[in-house]
Amino acid sequence: MGERGHALRAYGLIAAMWIRSTMAYRLSFVLTALGNFAVSALDFVAILLMFSHIDALGGFTLPEVALLYGTTCTSFGLADLLLGNADRVGRRVRDGTFDQFLVRPVPVLVQVAADRFALRRIGRIGQGALVLAWGVARVDVEWTPGRVLFAVVMVVTGAAIFAAVFLAGAAFQFWAADASEVANSFTFGGCTLLQYPPTVFAKELVRGATFVVPLAFVNWLPALWLLGRDDPLHLPGWAAFCGPAVALLLLGLSGLAWRAGIRSYRSTGS
């Protein structure tokens, strides 16, 4: 309980209010959610088309790629749903409406993240989860309880890593109001990257995605372990289990950047 409980409840309140206000136009909601589903599904259709000509992509079978694709999309979708609106903060900083978040007794991040909460984004999560379920059913993995748990942790960790990148992107908008485009290239771009096996990319890129912006911990490293494959960088075996620690570290760093951003906020004239 206490402040943290209050913060979570406040998130729920604000989100619920936005959901209620979108539900005033139910048909519009259904259509945009379906649209969201369809647009993200096109990515997978592209993969399916590829597999109609080839049997393996970078040595990965279709169900294996589906597993990669499903985990990324679900993780990304969760982060986007919960924190995606934080990238509107730049606009609010520019026009000064950010002030209003600072005079309310709820953490600013909660207000910013829940602002205009867009439930339609469950379309993407649903699509990712469907592909994931199909991939899980078809890959050649013996699903022991331990592995199931591992997969669940992988999705949650992935969401946390994406959330950290969203948060960092939002934080930098206090200094550069247009930073959201840069952040998008890591979030949306990263999401697309991770849908494919690391083996199809140049080693430098994989290295960058491991050590610079450690998106590889979203699904590449853990999924490789799950599928019993060697990773192209030949990292030690325990690297696959580092996801949660990496996510916490990233969240911590982004949180610090966010705080620094708020303290350097200059508001606008008048």
Binding site: L13, V103, P105, Y265
Partner: protein
């Protein structure tokens, strides 16, 4: 007890300006340049100054929106920028220029959200809302989305939202800007009652001096980031060296009355003459002197224009850096 305390508070902004193709100049702007004041509980203070004088910057530091560059700030014993969320429960803020309400939501939903965010007990929330709805005439507006409200309606809606949690301090930044006469009167009346009945401390910035005249006994004038006056509204005349005007209607056209002690003729228009004299002096001996020497038909005394007094104060401020 002092509810608001500022000691030598400064706010410096670094402005980067492009100077040439790639070179950039950094320049420091002191928006607030060493301000100290105290506001005791229950006082209603006007905070005035020309555009860019540092009024809003001060208010934003007092709410915790901006972090001061130097100096000490306390509101209800809280350091605003360090403990922003805790302070938020105890203050109310109205920015005349922009709303703190949710643009797309009806007022009623906004208020509901405010209630949950501030964890306002049900009974108190209902009492406060009813009172605001009645006194600010919001009844017909509760179900209208904020974006559809007129400026005056929205402002009333904002004032209500800032008061639902019974704040001890209310900051109003230009609360009557752009409002029509009726809306202005309503907002002013409401604020006066609030201060009288609840003892809410109010700090008000405005360009409309009528706001100050009708609401505040104390006024602070800021210019170029410095306080140039802090005291009673009447005292501004003494400080500003302002003059009152004796307007005299004579029986016929006469040359300017140069022999009236303590006054000087500033204007003559046919049989009517204007005599200026220091605002701090009584008009009675002057009237007697005029009546003794001239055929008098009628006369009136005009109070000095507060705007001019303040304009003079601004003019005397330290040069802009």
């Amino acid at each position: 007890m002092d509810l608001i305390e500022l000691t030598d508070v400064e706010k410096v902004f670094t402005v980067r300006r492009r100077a040439g193709l790639l070179r950039r100049e950094r320049r420091e702007v002191r928006a607030v340049d060493g301000i100290s004041f105290r506001v005791p509980r229950g006082e209603m203070v006007g905070y005035i100054g020309p555009n860019g004088a540092g009024k809003s910057t001060t208010i934003k530091m007092l709410t915790g929106i901006l972090v001061p560059s130097r100096g000490r700030l306390r509101v209800a014993g809280i350091d605003p920028s360090r403990d922003r969320a805790r302070l938020a429960r105890r203050i109310g803020v109205v920015f005349g220029q922009r709303t703190t309400l949710w643009w797309d939501l009806p007022l009623r939903d906004s208020y509901g959200l405010v209630r949950r965010m501030y964890r306002i007990p049900d009974a108190r929330y209902r009492a406060n809302l009813d009172r605001c709805v009645e006194l600010l005439d919001l009844g017909a507006l509760l179900d209208v989305p904020v974006r559809q409200l007129s400026l005056g309606q929205r402002m009333r809606g904002d004032v209500a939202a800032a008061l639902l949690h019974d704040p001890e301090v209310l900051y109003l930044d230009e609360p009557t800007i752009g409002l029509d006469v009726v809306s202005k009167a309503r907002v002013r009346g409401f604020l006066r009652d609030l201060n009288a009945e609840r003892g809410t401390t109010v700090l008000l910035t405005t360009h409309d001096l009528t706001d100050i005249e009708q609401l505040c006994r104390r006024v602070m004038v800021i210019d170029h980031g410095r306080l140039v006056y802090d005291g009673a509204l009447d005292g501004l005349h003494t400080v500003g060296g302002s003059e009152r005007m004796l307007v005299v209607d004579l029986e016929r056209e006469l040359p300017p009355m140069r022999d009236v002690p303590g006054a000087r003729v500033v204007r003559v228009e046919g049989p009517r003459q204007w005599l200026a004299f220091p605002a701090t002096r009584s008009a009675a001996p002057l009237v007697a002197a005029v009546a003794e020497r001239y055929p008098l038909l009628d006369l009136s005394v005009r109070e000095p224009d507060i705007e001019q007094v303040i304009a003079r104060l601004y003019g005397d401020g330290p040069p802009r850096t």
